[in-house]
Every structure is written in structure tokens, then in C-alpha cells.
């Protein structure tokens, strides 16, 4: 368009004089409104209050009761520590976990544990965590020795994405659990009874021995009281089985099909890494879309040598990590086959870390120099983080001496 030929635009909204006058009054009007306004400070912010209730940075808890479940598992009932700022417990969605921060011989480590109790229990003032004592487990040995009634525990708010979503999932939940991976399903079952989840639950629960089964009686009772809602199938891998109505061997595709219509079910899988390796093959036979299979992050990779692509020749090595945090720097040793997060914790650093599976992003750190191996099964980095050399220490292993910047502790 030829601008010069165009007639000059003349806009009038009310009248020429009024329009110009309105402009001259703008700043004065603003000034007047400010002068007339209240000078009372704002002291209330209910939205932030709600945010802090639902997502507290930290919850100070105390052990109220301990129940022995099996020879190697205990259930700890946790309530707000009356001597702390925690007065009520955060609500959660069944399947979520708490990240506990525990000081073991002056070294601070974190560990995620799925909540076994129900969201309603949280409103009534308690969480239950069922913990399995691991052979040679650094943390669980400490817990068995030191966690008595009255012991204080520091916890995160509820975290994690392993929960039933009515907008996404089918109304038949098929849980596949191994060992202590059963805990989130207890919470899910309770949510179904309490009316917070409108779905049926079938659980295929693998245990290595009869006396390793957790919640056996509770599940029997649930099945009896709500036959149209629950089905619990115990799958035992031991040689001698006396239990009636259980399956033996492993959780295979045939077994899964025997107990559910694969097409109209949503699968939730929680257990040790080794079970995932086996189930990946079994589930692949169904050719299901990814939306139908959800796996709980299983924590740190136990045996990085088994992860494809790991440079085996480094297995015996120890590297040096130059760590920077804020104004502070230190060089620490790191065993090649242990995650960088473990190396940091051994050296008494305490970076924020919740899932320990590469998923939550709290330990995100910057690699300044050197090389790391990132477990491809625990790699949830953002695209730009890959580009700019950020990594998650919980799912990364040094393959040379490295220099890193870790997050501060808020």
C-alpha cells in the first residue's frame, strides 16, 4: 500500500477535547487512586498457604508405632513430630512416595519409600511406610538398629507420578508387584474402599517365599469383603509351596492373561529392577501402547555393569570428583560403579535428591569437565539440559575424573 496516498487517520472516541483531556488525567488519576488506597499490609495469602499444605518442603515426623510384617519387613507408623513446625500431614495420591532424609553415622542420605497407608489416613494424622531390610543394606541396617518408637524422621512432601489417573487410566488396575514393591498397592486398595479411586484392582504379587509375603491377611480380608473390587494373586518363586490358591514360578504373560483382559486394563508395575527386566519381555508380547503400562521408578540402578553401553573396563576404577557448591569446593573420590550421588553422600555432601531414579530432577547438576555414563533407563533429562551438560547424579556414573557444580541445600 502506498502510504503517501493514504489519508491521515483522525480518531475521535468521544470528542476531540474530551479525548485529549482524558489523556492528561491518566497519571493524576493513578496517583489519586494510590493516595486513596489503604495502607494496611497484606498478611494473608490462602493460595500459598494451600500450596505449602499440599507440597510442604519438609515434614518432621516421629515414629508412633512399629509393626513387624515378616522376618525382613516392618511397618512404621509416622505422625507429626509434636516438637516441630509440622502440625498436619500433606495429602497425597495413592502410589506416591516420601523421600526420607536420614543421618547414618554423620552421613546424610535420602531414600524414597512408597506410602502404604491411605490419603484419608494422612488427613487423620499418620503415614505408614513398610520397609524391607536389605542384605548388607547400608541404610536399612541402620533403620533396624535405630528406628524405635519416638525416633524422629525428616521427610519430603509426597512425590512421584506412580498413581492412578481417572483421566488417563482404565477402570481396571492390574498391579504387578515384586517384594516390597507391594506397598503402593496397599494404598491404592485403601483409596478404592474409601471412594477416592473408582476402579477395580487385581494384583499379581511375586514373593520369593511364603513367609516373605507382606499384608497377606489384609489382602485376604479385602478380597472377602469386596469380591467385586479386589483380586490378589500370590505368585511364589520358591520350590515348596503350601499356600492354597497361589501361583508358582514367575509372573509371565500367560499368567497375566489368565487374570485380566489385557485390552481393558491399565498396568502398574512396582518392584526391583530385575523384575522389570523380566517383565519388559513378558509385557512386550501384548504389544500394548505405552499409556497402558506405568512403572514406578525403582531407585538407583543396582548393577550398572548390566546396563547396555556401560564401559565394562572401568569397573574397578576410582575417579576424582571436583565438587563445587556455592562458595565451597572439594575433591572427593568416586567408585566407577557407584552413582555420583552416592559418592557425594559418602563424602558428606547432602545435595537435594528425592527419587534417586533420574526422574524428579532435584539433584540436577552441571558437568564442567570430564565424562559420565548416564543410565539410559533412568535418563529423563530435558533437551536443553543435555545440550548444556546438565545431568542427574543419581543416575550417572563417572567414566573419568570430573568437575561438577551441585545444587545447594535450600
Amino acid at each position: 500500500m502506498n502510504k503517501e496516498n493514504e489519508e491521515k487517520l483522525e480518531v475521535t472516541v468521544k470528542s476531540n477535547t474530551k479525548d485529549l483531556f482524558a489523556f492528561t488525567k491518566l497519571v493524576a488519576e493513578r496517583q489519586k487512586r494510590i493516595e486513596r488506597a489503604s495502607s494496611e499490609p497484606i498478611t494473608k495469602d490462602p493460595i500459598n498457604d494451600l500450596a505449602r499444605k499440599i507440597h510442604p518442603d519438609v515434614q518432621y515426623l516421629v515414629i508412633d508405632e512399629i509393626k513387624v510384617e515378616t522376618k525382613s519387613t516392618k511397618t512404621f507408623k509416622l505422625v507429626p513430630d509434636p516438637d516441630s513446625s509440622t502440625k498436619e500431614l500433606a495429602i497425597f495420591r495413592s502410589g506416591q512416595y516420601l523421600s526420607l532424609k536420614v543421618k547414618v553415622n554423620d552421613v546424610t542420605i535420602t531414600r524414597p519409600y512408597s506410602i502404604a497407608s491411605s490419603p484419608k489416613d494422612a488427613l487423620n494424622g499418620f503415614y505408614e511406610l513398610t520397609i524391607k531390610k536389605e542384605e548388607h543394606g547400608f541404610l536399612t541396617s541402620y533403620i533396624w538398629d535405630n528406628w524405635k518408637v519416638g525416633a524422629k524422621i525428616e521427610s519430603s512432601g509426597p512425590e512421584g507420578f506412580f498413581y492412578y489417573d481417572p483421566l488417563r487410566d482404565f477402570k481396571h488396575i492390574v498391579g504387578i508387584a515384586g517384594g516390597s514393591g507391594i506397598t503402593p498397592f496397599k494404598s491404592i486398595a485403601l483409596s478404592i474402599i474409601e471412594g477416592n479411586i473408582d476402579a477395580r484392582l487385581t494384583v499379581l504379587y511375586g514373593s520369593s517365599d511364603e513367609d516373605d509375603i507382606i499384608y497377606y491377611d489384609e489382602f485376604q480380608a479385602l478380597e472377602k469383603d469386596y469380591p467385586d473390587k479386589f483380586k490378589f494373586i500370590h505368585v511364589l518363586s520358591c520350590e515348596v509351596v503350601s499356600l492354597e490358591g497361589c501361583e508358582t514360578g514367575f509372573i509371565t504373560s500367560d499368567l497375566i492373561e489368565k487374570y485380566c483382559d489385557v485390552k481393558t486394563s491399565s498396568f502398574f508395575i512396582c518392584g526391583p529392577q530385575i523384575m522389570y527386566n523380566f517383565l519388559d519381555n513378558e509385557m512386550a508380547k501384548f504389544e500394548l501402547p505405552p499409556k497402558k503400562i506405568r512403572k514406578e521408578a525403582f531407585g538407583e540402578v543396582k548393577d550398572v555393569l548390566s546396563i547396555p553401553g556401560y564401559p565394562q573396563e572401568l569397573a574397578e576404577k576410582t575417579f576424582k570428583i571436583t565438587v563445587h557448591v556455592g562458595n565451597y569446593s572439594k575433591v572427593i573420590p568416586a567408585i566407577a560403579t557407584e552413582s555420583i550421588l552416592v559418592a557425594l553422600e559418602r563424602a558428606n555432601f547432602a545435595p537435594p535428591a528425592k527419587c534417586r531414579s533420574g526422574e524428579c530432577g532435584f539433584c540436577r547438576s552441571k558437568l564442567i569437565s570430564g565424562e559420565v555414563f548416564i543410565s539410559p533407563i533412568s535418563d529423563w533429562r530435558r533437551k536443553a539440559d543435555k545440550k548444556f551438560n546438565y545431568f542427574h547424579p543419581c543416575s550417572s556414573y563417572p567414566t573419568s575424573d570430573i568437575e561438577i557444580v551441585i545444587p545447594r541445600t535450600l
Binding site: F23, E29, G326, R364, K383, R408
Partner: protein, 522 residues
């Protein structure tokens, strides 16, 4: 004591920037590049504030950006592109989104479904096609918008003290419309109602009804998008905010994350330092605050006796804006399979914007949505056979004030389901059966991550008396504490990504000038 706790930052800085949101990043980059000793403190473990991303399963979601204004093509760079490329040389990449928007109005008496392209002439043509006879009046809207843009630049260049005679001579149309709402001026231009509805498509980006929103800021925004297009970063907003982080460090600036400032220390009306919840005590005479004046005066300034009465009055006089609700969906079908061919969808029950705004004041189903199908601008943003859909609506925070924790998850799911159904009805795309990942952000989520007052992300509402013109012309008069500047969406340039970054730059320039003047004196 852990090694982490051995780390404290007790040092002094020329300038401390509080918050690594859009405003904070731009301000810090500018000052670091100038060689000042600067420290930016951010409570979260990432830069960006709401300009970030997150990963669920196979998808990386954009948190809040729909499309960036003021970026523009290589041949017609906008101010943000000039800042990114020419000023800071950020290592980041942007692409243009394919069209301005598709506007779907579902009210039986207002039914409309129209795709609006970028380009002023293209927009005028598209509206003429839909509303024959609207061409001249709509063209006048854009001509006026251009003149307003020029007037903004002029006022900006005078530091908020324009020469009134020159304004009257060169920018008369701007002067004559600056005090009116978009509704009043569109009526005065004789734009037919239906053409107004199309032109008002972007209204939700500023978030107040057309009858209340100041005309000049609305027209400038529409013209900016029409002229320069809408642009998005290829690696989500986290891509450019992380590029800012890299650049700031390269310039010698310092950034600390997981570091929340809880006190801005003031003595005798002057900034003297900040303290963090981590226990850092930092000396400085200048703070650029990316947090809102509301939060700063009511919570951060210490001691409280140093907050002047006028500061409380200022904050209380303003109308606090909106917060939002976003459904992030990773779908296991491609956009093409679903029949979703556009990038941006505005889905409105009605273009009676007062009614839609009113629906955001309660927990009833919101009546206006702004949706993005990311793959239609970035085909590779998710794996083949999948796509990413964001559905955004707005809320007045008060709507959520009485929600109890035990009802929270049900309430958000119920609202989300209604919005998904609304989207399906409007577009015909079967979304719900293809949900692979879904995450929902509410006002509570925005409060959780930003700690902004009531989770608000839309700053103060720009009615005419508090729109960009009076704010710019009050510049300098609203500094109530010496050494304190604000930057970001609550400040003089109003909210939005580009405005916040542009504002950060202005605040940095003002602070830099003061420091240079002091040094000259010394």
C-alpha cells in the same frame, strides 16, 4: 554438619537480582555484560520461573509459553530477537508458529470457527472474508496500532517524561485513545461486532475483558503478533532460559539456585543487603527484584518499619491479575491423526469477554481456553505417532481460596475433564482415549513454584489508569526505597514473556546509570 552446609555466600555485590524469571535473567545478563559484579538468587533449582519445561515419560512439556511476541524473522527482528542475538548472542534457536490462531466460538448465536494468519494484510483479508465490509475499519485499527507503537517508543526514549507539545503534534491519535478501553476505541472506529470478536481473539493473553482493557496496550500487542509473528524456542523455554544462564556466567555474573531471599535489608530508606533462608548475608546497595511489589513490600523488606506507607498504598491500589490452570497432555496419536491442524486454538463459549472473565471467578467450568498443539510448530518435539497438547485457562485466585487439601485433586481432575470434553467438542478430536501422560497445573502449582502472591502470574490488571502509559510516565516517582528496582510482569511493561524481559532490561539500564553516576562522583 554436612559439607553442603559449609557453603555460604557472604560477600558484597554491585547489584543483587532476586529471581531468575524472564525479568531477572534479562537484567542480570545486561549488568554482567557491562562488567558489574552481580549475583542472581533463585529459590528454585532452575532458571526461568514460569518460563521452563518439565518431563513426563516420553514428553517434555512447555510450562507456560504459547508464543513469544517481539521476536520476528531475521529480516524484521523485534526487540527480543535483537536482545537475544545482537546484544547477548544467546545460544538458542526459535521457530515461527504457523498461524496467529484459530478462534472457535461455541455460543449458538455467535458460532464462529475461523483461522487467522499472521501478517497485517493477511489478517485484514481473513477478517473481511468472514465479515464482509469490515476491511476499512479493521485497517484503521492496525494503522492506529502502528502509531501507538511509535508513541510507546518515543515515551520510552524520554524515560517517561515526554514533551507534551511533541506528543500532541506527532502522536495525536495515541493521545486521544490512551485513556480508553479497547471496546470504546473499536466502537469509535466503527468495527462491526463480529470483526471485533475476531480481533479480540488475543484478549486472554492480557486477561481482562475488552471493556476494561486499555486500548493502546491491546492494539500494540495484536499489531506486534500480526507484524512479527509468534515464535517459540525449539527446546522449550528451558532452552533459552538455560542459554541465559550460560551467558551470564560467561559474562562473569554469578547465579545461585536453591537460594531463597527472605530479607531485603533496608537502612534509612536505602538498600544495604539481602539475607537468604540458606543463611547467606550479602551486602549490596542495589537490588533488582523479579518478585512483585506486593510480595516485596509485604514480605521481603526488613525491617518492616522501612516500608513507606505509600508503598502499601501503591500495592493496594492496583488490581491484582489472574493466575492459571493448565492441562499438559502427551497423546499417543499424532496431531494429523487427531485432525488437529493448527498450532494455537482459542476456544470461547462466547466473545462476551466479561462473561468469560466472570466464569474465572469461581470453580465453575471456565468458559475460555487457549490451547497449543506444539507439534504443529515443532514436528519433532515428541516421538513419532505422538503429540503434545496444552490446554490453558485462567482463574481469579479467589476462586481457589477455600479449596481444602482433601478435595484438591478431585477438583482439579473434575475441571480438567470438563475442559478436555470442551476441547473435544470444539475440535472434534478424540483426545481422552489417547492420553498417555497428563499433568495439571493449578493456581496452587504456580504458587508452589513461584511463591508469587496468590500464585498470580498476570501482574496487575492494565485498566487504562494503570496501563503502560501511566506506568511509564510514573517512572522514577514510584521508587520508594533507594536502590530498589523491580523487573518483570508486575512492573511498568505489564505481563507477558517479552514485556517482562524488556522490563528487566530497562531496570538494569536505570540501575547501571545510577552506579556509573556514583562512580563518576567518586
Amino acid at each position: 554438619m554436612s559439607e553442603n552446609e559449609l557453603d555460604t555466600i557472604d560477600d558484597s555485590y554491585d547489584v543483587v537480582i532476586i529471581g531468575a524469571g524472564n525479568g531477572g535473567l534479562a537484567a542480570t545478563a545486561f549488568l554482567a555484560q557491562k562488567g558489574l559484579k552481580v549475583l542472581m538468587l533463585e529459590q528454585h533449582n532452575l532458571p526461568g520461573g514460569v518460563a521452563t519445561s518439565f518431563v513426563r515419560g516420553r514428553f517434555e512439556f512447555e510450562t507456560s509459553l504459547h508464543e513469544l511476541a517481539s521476536y520476528g524473522p531475521e529480516s524484521n527482528k523485534g526487540s527480543i530477537r535483537r536482545m537475544f542475538e545482537d546484544m547477548f548472542q544467546l545460544d538458542t534457536e526459535f521457530v515461527q508458529v504457523p498461524e496467529a490462531y484459530r478462534l472457535i466460538v461455541t455460543h449458538p448465536e455467535e458460532k464462529m470457527d475461523v483461522s487467522i494468519p499472521f501478517g497485517v494484510e493477511n489478517m485484514i483479508d481473513a477478517i473481511e472474508k468472514e465479515v464482509p465490509g469490515s476491511r476499512e475499519s479493521v485497517r484503521n485499527f492496525f494503522r492506529l496500532a502502528k502509531e501507538i507503537g511509535e508513541a510507546f517508543s518515543y515515551i520510552g526514549s524520554t524515560g517517561g517524561n515526554p514533551d507534551q507539545t511533541l506528543l500532541l503534534k506527532e502522536h495525536a491519535n495515541f493521545l486521544k485513545t490512551a485513556a480508553y478501553s479497547a471496546q470504546e476505541v473499536e466502537d469509535a472506529l466503527g468495527i462491526p461486532k463480529r470483526a471485533q470478536d475476531i480481533l479480540n481473539g488475543y484478549w486472554a493473553y492480557l486477561g481482562l475483558p475488552i471493556s476494561r482493557i486499555n486500548f493502546t496496550i491491546y492494539a500494540a500487542m495484536v499489531d506486534n503478533y500480526a507484524d512479527l509473528g509468534g515464535w517459540i524456542p525449539t527446546n522449550r523455554s528451558h532452552g533459552y532460559t538455560t542459554a541465559f544462564d550460560e551467558k551470564i556466567r560467561e559474562f562473569g555474573g554469578r547465579i545461585e539456585y536453591n537460594t531463597r531471599v527472605d530479607k531485603i535489608l533496608v537502612e534509612n530508606g536505602k538498600i544495604v543487603g539481602v539475607e537468604t533462608v540458606n543463611g547467606d548475608k550479602i551486602k549490596t546497595s542495589y537490588v533488582i527484584c523479579n518478585a512483585s511489589p506486593t510480595l516485596t513490600y509485604n514480605k521481603l523488606i526488613s525491617p518492616k518499619s522501612e516500608v513507606p506507607e505509600i508503598a502499601y498504598k501503591d500495592v493496594n491500589a492496583r488490581i491484582h491479575g489472574l493466575t492459571g490452570f493448565v492441562i499438559y497432555v502427551g497423546l499417543d496419536a499424532s496431531a494429523e491423526e487427531l485432525g488437529l491442524n493448527e498450532y494455537g486454538y482459542f476456544i470461547m463459549d462466547s466473545m462476551n469477554t466479561e462473561e468469560v472473565y466472570d466464569s474465572w471467578t469461581s470453580l465453575q467450568p471456565p468458559e475460555g481456553l487457549a490451547c497449543v498443539v506444539l507439534n504443529n510448530a515443532l514436528p519433532d518435539c515428541s516421538p513419532p505417532g505422538t503429540c503434545i497438547l496444552d490446554i490453558t485457562t485462567l482463574f481469579r485466585p479467589e476462586a481457589w481460596e477455600n479449596v481444602k487439601p482433601e478435595d484438591y485433586y478431585n477438583i482439579k481432575n473434575e475441571i480438567a475433564e470438563k475442559l478436555l470434553i470442551k476441547f473435544e467438542k470444539a475440535t472434534g478430536a478424540p483426545i481422552r482415549e489417547h492420553i498417555e501422560e497428563i499433568e495439571i497445573a493449578t493456581p496452587v502449582t504456580f504458587a508452589r513454584y513461584t511463591r508469587h502472591y496468590k500464585g498470580i502470574f498476570y501482574g496487575y490488571e492494565p485498566e487504562s489508569w494503570d496501563s503502560i502509559v501511566p506506568r511509564l510516565m510514573s517512572m522514577g516517582k514510584d521508587v520508594y526505597i533507594e536502590g530498589l528496582e523491580f523487573a518483570g510482569g508486575f512492573n511498568r511493561r505489564l505481563h507477558g514473556y517479552s514485556s517482562s524481559m524488556g522490563d528487566g532490561l530497562i531496570s538494569a539500564q536505570l540501575t547501571y546509570a545510577k552506579i556509573m553516576k556514583e562512580r563518576e562522583k567518586a
